[in-house]
């Protein structure tokens, strides 16, 4: 930690939050709000003279409220920066006549009540999001009597208790009588792995944290009686099973089953009722102290930052990586990376590993000092633009700007455009050219495919990242399927214009399949939601004009679903066989009549 504080290349802004971000990879402009500390960070020597005179006593957040601090304080002994700060809401004396005792006590005169919040703007090339976690709050549902019984602690409170620098100098005392407990119970999965309480996912670290805590206790107090109530112990990491076994050898009892109720007894100890699922019997255990192994939640700032940066979250609320295997620390937006629990619950080793990976990914992007933009971007034909604004609405990267009122046509910021082609597919006025995937280029493929025996062929539009890759994977796995489909590759399924599909039907295609990444996995944030809308709408339109809507299919196939790709190809072939030459001829006629 201190290395960060004194590193010449690191500018550390504490008490600060990002409030605005503009720009794109390589050229972000970030607005930061730095709240006033009221103590000069560079001058304060952390002598602590001010603390002695401050009359305000408040509970100490760092020790989870188990000890107290003053209104002027240092967050914790090893804090970086070490400078003290004033909590202005607690301080009596913005007005020196009221208190200002600390002002007099500070020889170096580094306390300044006039200090104010600052707005700082930084020019930034890449961003690493390491916003961490929020522990699950057991107060919400009064889990296991946490709000009612003093001797029910959270795992974080327990950490502070057994910490030599903590409120009890490392003595694991019982809050009610300040005596060393004879028995301690740990309850696992508080706020994790439950659809009703907290979250459904596994928080990944609480099992091992409890194993660790049990060892810490046993090492100092071999006679202490420890019981762990669990669903199943997940000791999957390197060296983890070893620790778990060690804790068992020390006599820690692991009881399978989560307590149903917790009651306080007259001596403030706790009676736990639990169905031991190993024996199927309800058991009662009296314990001096209970520790709740809290799960992790995404940090509170997650959603705000997600909106500001245009990132995605997974269903659990953590940041979603660009690809779970190939780009596990990259955001889908170029130039943004994830490290630590922001991306999902993980332990320290994993966090550190991911952080190093993220920094290398950032360096890889920056080391040349310039950045090349893929030329597969869209371009506006200004004369055709009717200022409708549709393209700007659908672009997942906010790469298009225009002014409807002033009739300034759309323009594409090529650095921000990632080339999904959704804008070109949605523009009703043919005002957008998608480079390397132009209307003509794509239609020419359809035409060439359907020159001979169109009735025997299936036209498949496949996105580069998922469904085309899934087809490749079917090949690598040698999954055999009927040879009737021909794939047309686009970067994103969002590129597939209604016109392309109608063109295929006009040329005699019996079946058209549009395929892309699963919803939520789109390589272009959420461009495929426009694909879905478009296809559903078009199916309705086909029905109206007398073309069987089933002949247009939409399937989501991931890069890993080679088997599914082969299955889908078989389904498509069955569907194709159901389309007669008469039906095709009729379709062609319908479409030709509509043109006239």
């Amino acid at each position: 930690m201190t290395d960060v504080g004194r590193h010449p290349n690191i500018k550390m802004l504490t008490m600060s939050e990002v409030v605005g971000i503009k720009g794109y990879v390589g050229n972000f402009k970030v607005e930061i709000l730095k709240r006033a500390r009221y103590v000069d960070e560079s001058e304060c020597t952390a002598c602590g003279d001010c603390v002695k005179v401050c009359p305000v006593v408040r509970s100490d957040e760092f020790n989870e409220g188990l000890s107290s601090r003053k209104a002027i304080y240092s967050p914790f002994p090893q804090a970086v920066p070490s400078s003290y700060l004033i909590n202005v809401n607690e301080c009596l004396g913005h007005n020196p006549s009221v208190c200002s005792k600390c002002l007099d006590a500070c020889d170096k005169k580094c306390i300044d009540f006039q200090m104010s919040d600052e707005k700082i703007v930084e020019e930034i090339g890449t961003i690493i999001v390491a916003t961490g976690l929020e522990p699950y709050d057991p107060k919400e549902l009064d889990e296991y009597g946490y709000t009612r019984y003093e001797n029910v602690l959270t795992s974080l409170e327990f950490e502070r208790l057994v910490n030599a620098g903590g409120p009890s100098q490392g003595e694991p005392i019982r809050p009610t009588d300040r005596k060393t407990p004879k028995s301690v119970g740990f309850i696992q999965c508080v706020g994790s792995r439950s659809a009703r309480r907290g979250s459904e996912y596994c928080s990944n670290t609480c099992c091992m944290n409890t194993v660790k805590s049990s060892l810490v206790l046993k090492e100092h107090y071999p006679d202490i009686d420890i019981k762990v109530f669990y669903v199943d112990i997940r000791a999957f990491g390197k060296g983890f099973e070893d620790l778990y076994m060690r804790s068992k050898r020390y006599g820690v009892q692991y009881l399978r089953g989560l307590p149903g109720t917790v009651e306080e007894l007259d001596d403030s100890s706790l009676r736990v009722a639990v169905e031991n699922t190993a024996t199927g019997k309800v058991e009662y255990h009296d314990l001096d102290m209970l520790v709740l192994a809290l799960g992790m939640k995404p940090a509170k700032s997650t959603q705000r930052l997600q909106e500001m940066l245009g990132l995605q979250l997974n269903p659990d609320g953590f940041y979603l990586e660009a690809h779970p295997k190939l780009q596990p620390v990259d955001a889908a937006t170029r130039g943004i990376f994830f490290a630590g629990c922001a991306e999902g619950p993980k332990d320290i080793k994993e966090s550190v590993t991911q952080a190093s990976a993220a920094s290398v990914r950032a360096i890889r992007l920056m080391h040349k000092g310039e950045i090349s933009a893929e030329p597969i971007t869209s371009e506006i034909i200004e004369e055709n633009c009717k200022f409708c604004g549709k393209c700007a609405e659908v672009c997942p990267y906010n790469a298009i700007s225009l002014n409807k009122e002033k009739k300034i046509p759309a323009s594409v910021n090529t650095a921000a455009c990632s080339g999904c082609g959704t804008c070109a597919a949605e523009c009703k006025f043919d005002a957008i050219i998608m480079n390397h995937f132009t209307d003509d280029q794509i239609n020419s493929q359809t035409d060439a495919m359907l020159v001979e025996e169109p009735e025997s062929k299936i036209v498949v539009f496949a996105c580069n990242w998922c469904s085309y890759a899934g087809a490749d994977y079917a090949g690598v796995s040698r999954f055999q399927y009927p040879p009737n489909a021909r794939l047309i590759r686009t970067m994103c399924s969002g590129r597939v214009d209604e016109k392309f599909i109608m063109r295929a039907f006009e040329k005699g295609a019996p079946v058209v399949l549009v395929s892309g990444c699963h919803i939520g996995d789109c390589h272009y944030i959420d461009a495929n939601k426009w694909t879905e809308k478009r296809i559903i709408k078009l199916q309705g339109k086909l029905e109206k004009i007398g073309i069987r809507p089933e002949r247009l299919q939409l399937e989501w196939i991931s890069a890993a679903e080679g088997m599914r790709f082969a299955d889908v190809m078989r389904q498509m072939e069955d569907l194709r066989k159901s389309v007669s030459s008469e039906e095709i001829a009729e379709t062609i006629e319908i479409l030709e009549n509509r043109k006239k």
């Binding site: 390589g26 090893q78 629990c341 993220a358 280029q441 055999q480």
Partner: protein
């Protein structure tokens, strides 16, 4: 901006296409009649040269293609081989060596999406391969050169969050000579980690 002036008609007029059908050893040629595909491709519009090649991506394979480009004054090519997801970067680089724009390339996927998935149907697979090449040739005729834009970049990283992950990322970057701005909402960095006593699996202290 790349192309506004260049209509597809312009590029069609000039198109001189070479088609190279790769055997990939036996990977493709065991199922697809590569020589026939090359033969038929010769008759397609804009195609100046069409050949089958043992291994297109190998050194000699690439040389054969580059020679073909130079000898026939080709301005774009179709490589009918494996998936573009595999070798598109290879052949784009090769085009640069032959003084062509790397985007004047189209690939037909005869391996992952044809020979490997229709192994017991050589004739149907060959017909499909022909279609795939035809599709690629007509698309290739409409390609135009594209140029990568180079943009300036600020060599500076913002790390949002000063917990264990943020600290590690900041130090790695800073030690590599990059400037870092670390933004932490609390008065001290350290995050959740700083509150922990011992940490598993090593059971040593966290700070």
């Amino acid at each position: 901006m790349q192309v506004k002036s260049m209509t597809s008609a312009d590029s069609e007029k000039q198109a001189r296409i070479g088609v190279y059908v790769c055997h990939c050893g036996l990977n493709i040629s065991k199922t697809v009649d590569c020589a026939k595909v090359a033969e038929v491709s010769k008759e397609l519009e804009y195609v100046v040269e069409a050949k089958d090649i043992a291994y297109a991506c190998s050194e000699p394979g690439q040389k054969e293609i580059v020679d073909g480009i130079i000898d026939n004054d080709l301005d774009r090519i179709v490589v009918a081989s494996c998936s573009p997801r595999l070798h598109e970067p290879t052949f784009r680089q090769m085009l640069q060596k032959a003084d062509l724009n790397p985007y004047m390339l189209e690939m037909a996927n005869l391996r992952e999406q044809c020979s490997w998935v229709h192994m017991s149907e050589p004739e149907a697979a060959t017909r499909k391969a022909l279609d795939l090449v035809k599709m690629s040739v007509s698309r290739a005729a409409l390609l135009w050169p594209l140029f990568e834009e180079t943009l300036p970049l600020t060599k500076r990283t913002m790390v949002i969050g000063g917990g264990v992950a943020g600290i590690q990322a900041a130090l790695d970057l800073a030690d590599n000579g990059y400037e870092v701005v670390m933004v932490e909402k609390n008065p001290s960095i350290g995050g959740t980690m700083a509150k922990l006593d011992k940490t598993f699996p090593t059971m040593d202290c966290s700070i």
